[in-house]
């Protein structure tokens, strides 16, 4: 389990080391990896059905209760199979799709890492770890969406999705930490163990809301749905993967994962189901009038995510069973449809309805595949989608209380969905061709066709023999979401009951709507115009301009503090420090006492005098060179003081540093304009006041600090252990390289960064 995650990491980097001949097929290599991982998870099905839960843990940061801990139960197994299985097809498809683009290796790298991150997320048992993987998927999907980064649209869409999902991610983290205080742990098992306590706690509602914010942003729920249609700027294999098995399903995953902990309350039910209902209807409503293949599919994804969230919100055993089945249904048909859309885009050179049509004759296999998947989307037998829809209806019918509202909206949404699906088939393949573009032919040996074909066949197979799925995966997955769930029996034919008549009504109404839409052009036009007007109040643009406004605001505020004048920075620091220290002196009422100043030999007094004289020189000198030399004298004077008190290391360092600083000053000085006095009298008085205030307080602090003795003094520890533990007699050096090695490391990093910065800024020909 853990090995499979490492494999993703290794393979993703490994593709850069492939020999040249093999590098053409990088995507295929990853696809084989996915197949391998998929088969591994397949072999685990018997264990899981027997009720085993596989787990693995690696100690990571034990001090923070942060261990890598993985869990494989029925639910995570379902997701793992989807991620690796659909992943395999996506990579096979990408091999053919990405052939002509530059930067394919980068693309494969990101996509592989994305798969790995997604898999890591679904296998996580520790919630902080889950959050890390969650954010990784956000960042990687940003990189994938912005693959065509030369397009402004793509960059905008990518930033938008990153802002929204990362914002949601942070909120999720806050929620996890908040609720984690109740069981005192971030382990999922411990959360489940103390589920009662969490639900009854006063933190429950805020925690739930924070976590839900993460869920609705990730799963593109209303009102954060708008990043998803933008995300189709990504290359088609990415859309196909993101929309079906990964990314947007993460929100649903988390809902179901936390259901045993947070579910079963009325807050859960009302908040989640109302978000789900709105999203479900809105998604499909906008899909109806779209005419571009990928955006139709993107909006139907929003619809499907709404359905999933709604079903989690309804929160009955039946509804969760329906959700789990629908997860498979949607993953299979949506991956296929996106792949087909990409294929048609490649072959026909367009994704617009208006330039398509009549392709059934020249692309018969594509036609069959698309029809199967679109029928699955519409929920028409014998596809798996039919079973999914039946179960969903059943769940809604049996819902006590609010069922009538949800059922009516649900049926309406499904009628629209049928219309979308049928129009999709009709406009691409059946309608009479009106453009004079060359008629595309299909290439039957290409992965562009084979990959979606395999998924469509699976969709049909599961529809005809639902027991393969129902008795095995869904049952054990249900068991991990709800305690004590019963058997899952899926049948294609349920007999004549309420649900069947609802389905029949949906399909018939959907057919009629399709007929109307495609015969009465005026009606469609008006409807489109109406929807465009709604869409014009685009949340997406509002969001982007909001972000721009915020950045502008922050920019202005920053300019006040970060003005770029070194002298004012220093002034700010000194004034603040002086005021703070003076206040402290005043408030603590400290008495200035000079205890035992000792005798100062005459030559030390002389040294100090020379230093003071040098300082005065530096201040009043009219020559820069003289000022620099005078400052050097002060520095050497300090070095001698160090020497006198026995701090040899300090003294040596001071002398060397002082020498270099003088050299440095001289070098900089050559570049300076002629020496001028630019400050007026007022400014000089101000500087004098600040200097005296700061200097005096520092002197006072130094004198006072002689009286303070920290118990026990840290220096005693160093002196005692320097030889015995660190084998060094020079305590200063031992502190630098051993006791305080971390500090030293930090310091040399700062130095190196500063030096590199200076070197970059002053590069010849560069503008500093």
């Amino acid at each position: 389990m853990v090995v499979s995650l490492l494999l993703y990491l290794m393979f993703s980097i490994g593709i850069f080391f492939l020999p040249k001949i093999l590098r053409k097929y990088t995507s295929v290599w990853i696809a084989f990896l996915q197949v391998g991982v998929f088969s591994f998870f397949l072999t685990r099905i018997p264990n899981i059905i027997n009720g085993e839960v596989l787990s693995a843990a690696i100690t990571w940061v034990p001090a923070l209760d942060l261990n890598l801990s993985f869990i494989l139960d029925g639910f995570s197994l379902s997701f793992a199979l989807l991620i690796s299985g659909i992943g395999a097809m996506v990579f096979f498809y990408a091999q053919a799709y990405m052939k002509k683009y530059a930067g394919t290796d980068r693309f494969i790298l990101f996509l592989t890492l994305f798969s790995g991150a997604m898999l890591g997320m679904v296998l996580s048992e520790n919630l902080i770890q889950l959050f890390i993987f969650w954010e990784l998927t956000s960042v990687l999907s940003f990189l994938l969406i912005t693959f065509f980064h030369e397009k402004e649209e793509a960059r905008k869409a990518a930033f938008q999705s990153l802002y929204i999902t990362a914002f949601g991610g942070l909120s999720l983290l806050a929620g996890i930490i908040l609720l984690g205080t109740i069981p005192g742990s971030y382990s999922l098992n411990e959360w489940i163990a103390s589920a009662e306590a969490i639900r009854e706690s006063s933190l429950y509602l805020p925690g739930l809301l924070l976590i839900l914010l993460g869920v609705v942003t990730k799963s593109a729920q209303f009102p954060f749905h708008f990043w998803l249609p933008g995300a189709m700027q990504a290359p088609t294999p990415v859309s196909s993967y993101l929309h079906s098995a990964t990314m947007v399903k993460a929100g649903f995953f988390l809902l179901a994962r936390l259901h045993p902990v947070l579910g079963g309350t009325s807050e859960w039910m009302y908040i989640i189901s109302s978000v789900g209902v709105i999203t479900m209807f809105m998604g499909v409503y906008f899909a109806v009038t779209k005419t571009e293949l990928k955006s139709i599919l993107a909006y139907t994804t929003i619809n499907a995510l709404g359905v999933l969230v709604l079903l989690m919100g309804i929160d009955t055993q039946l509804s969760i069973k329906a959700a789990l089945l629908f997860l498979f249904v949607h993953a299979l048909y949506k991956a296929t449809l996106f792949m087909v859309a990409g294929l048609i885009d490649k072959k026909a050179g367009t994704k617009e309805f208006s330039s398509l049509g009549g392709l059934a004759r020249t692309m018969p296999l594509t036609f069959v595949i698309t029809s199967l998947s679109a029928l699955s989307m519409a929920g028409i037998p014998p596809m798996l989608g039919f079973l999914g829809k039946e179960l969903i209806y059943e769940a809604k019918v049996q819902l006590p209380g609010i069922s009538s509202v949800i059922l009516v909206i649900g049926v309406a949404a499904n009628i629209l969905l049928v219309a979308v699906s049928l129009t999709f088939i009709y406009r691409i393949f059946l309608v009479k061709r009106t453009t004079d573009k060359p008629i595309p032919k299909e290439d039957r040996k290409s992965w562009l066709l084979l990959a979606p074909a395999m998924l469509a066949i699976l969709s049909l197979l599961f529809g005809l023999f639902p027991k393969i799925l129902g008795g095995t995966l869904i049952e054990s997955a249900l068991g991990s979401v709800i305690d004590g769930a019963g058997d899952v029996k899926l049948k294609l034919w349920h007999g004549f009951n309420d649900v069947f008549f609802l389905s029949l009504f949906t399909v018939v109404a959907g057919f009629m709507l399709t007929y109307l839409m495609n015969t009465k052009q005026m009606l469609l036009k008006n409807w489109q115009a109406f929807n465009e007007r709604i869409v014009r109040f685009s949340l997406s643009d509002k969001f982007l301009s909001g972000v721009d406004g915020f950045v502008g605001f922050a920019d202005k505020k920053t300019q006040i503090i970060q003005h770029g004048y070194h002298r004012y920075y220093i002034m700010t620091i000194m004034v603040l420090a002086a005021v703070a220290m003076w206040y402290q002196f005043y408030a603590s009422g400290a008495q200035l006492t000079i205890n035992n100043p000792g005798t100062i030999p005459y030559y030390m007094a002389g040294l100090v005098l020379v230093s003071v004289f040098a300082v005065v020189m530096a201040m009043f000198s009219r020559s820069r060179l003289a000022a620099i030399v005078a400052m050097g004298v002060v520095g050497y004077g300090i070095a001698l003081v160090f020497m006198y008190y026995g701090a040899i290391d300090l003294a040596i360092t001071q002398i060397l540093a002082e020498t270099l600083i003088v050299v440095l000053f001289v070098l900089v000085m050559q570049k300076m304009p002629r020496f001028l006095r630019l400050s007026d009298k007022k400014q000089r008085v101000r500087d004098l006041v600040i200097a005296i205030g700061f200097g005096t307080v520092m002197t006072l602090v130094t004198i006072q600090s002689m009286d303070i003795s920290l118990q026990p003094a840290i220096s005693d520890f160093f002196i005692e252990n320097s030889w015995s533990k660190a084998f060094g007699k020079n305590v200063v050096n031992v502190i630098l390289v051993d006791f305080r090695a971390m500090d030293t490391l930090g310091e040399i990093i700062v130095l190196a960064v500063a030096a590199l910065g200076v070197s970059m800024l002053l590069k010849k020909g560069g503008k500093a």
């Binding site: 200063v732 051993d738 070197s759």
Partner: protein
């Protein structure tokens, strides 16, 4: 500056600086000295050379560029953590090897020495980079 006297003096002083620098580096653990002081001393050798010739000439003639000193130095610093991690000690904890060299005494090699060598190199790199980038752009 292009002074013949300085150029000839530099030829001999260079080695003095470097020998002292390495001397300071190695005695550092028990007596005044260490990687930081040694590094500054070694940097002096380059700076002095920079005065005798021009910064550009020195930069050109450096077989190992200051940036490379940084890289090697940081590598040494990071490598010095590895033995401790392998030995399962706390991060940054020193690991020591001692070898009895008979007449010569007891040789003790430890990761702090490697760390100090790393600092030595980083300090050389940083100082030279600072000074030369200021001087070079004349």
């Amino acid at each position: 500056m292009n002074s013949g006297i300085l150029q000839i003096a530099e030829k001999y002083l260079r080695w003095l600086f470097l020998v002292f620098a390495i001397f300071a580096l190695f005695r550092g653990h028990n007596l005044p000295g260490g990687g930081f002081i040694g590094g500054l001393m070694a940097a002096m050798a380059f700076v002095f050379r920079g005065f005798a010739y021009s910064a550009d000439e020195v930069y050109q003639s450096m077989k190992i560029k200051p940036e490379t000193y940084l890289v090697i130095g940081f590598t040494a610093v990071i490598l010095s953590f590895v033995p401790g991690m392998i030995a399962g000690k706390t991060f940054f904890e020193g690991v020591w090897l001692s070898a009895d060299l008979g007449q010569l005494g007891l040789l003790k090699l430890g990761t702090p020495l490697l760390f100090d060598i790393g600092i030595f190199l980083v300090v050389i790199g940083v100082t030279v980079l600072f000074l030369f980038s200021l001087k070079r752009s004349d």
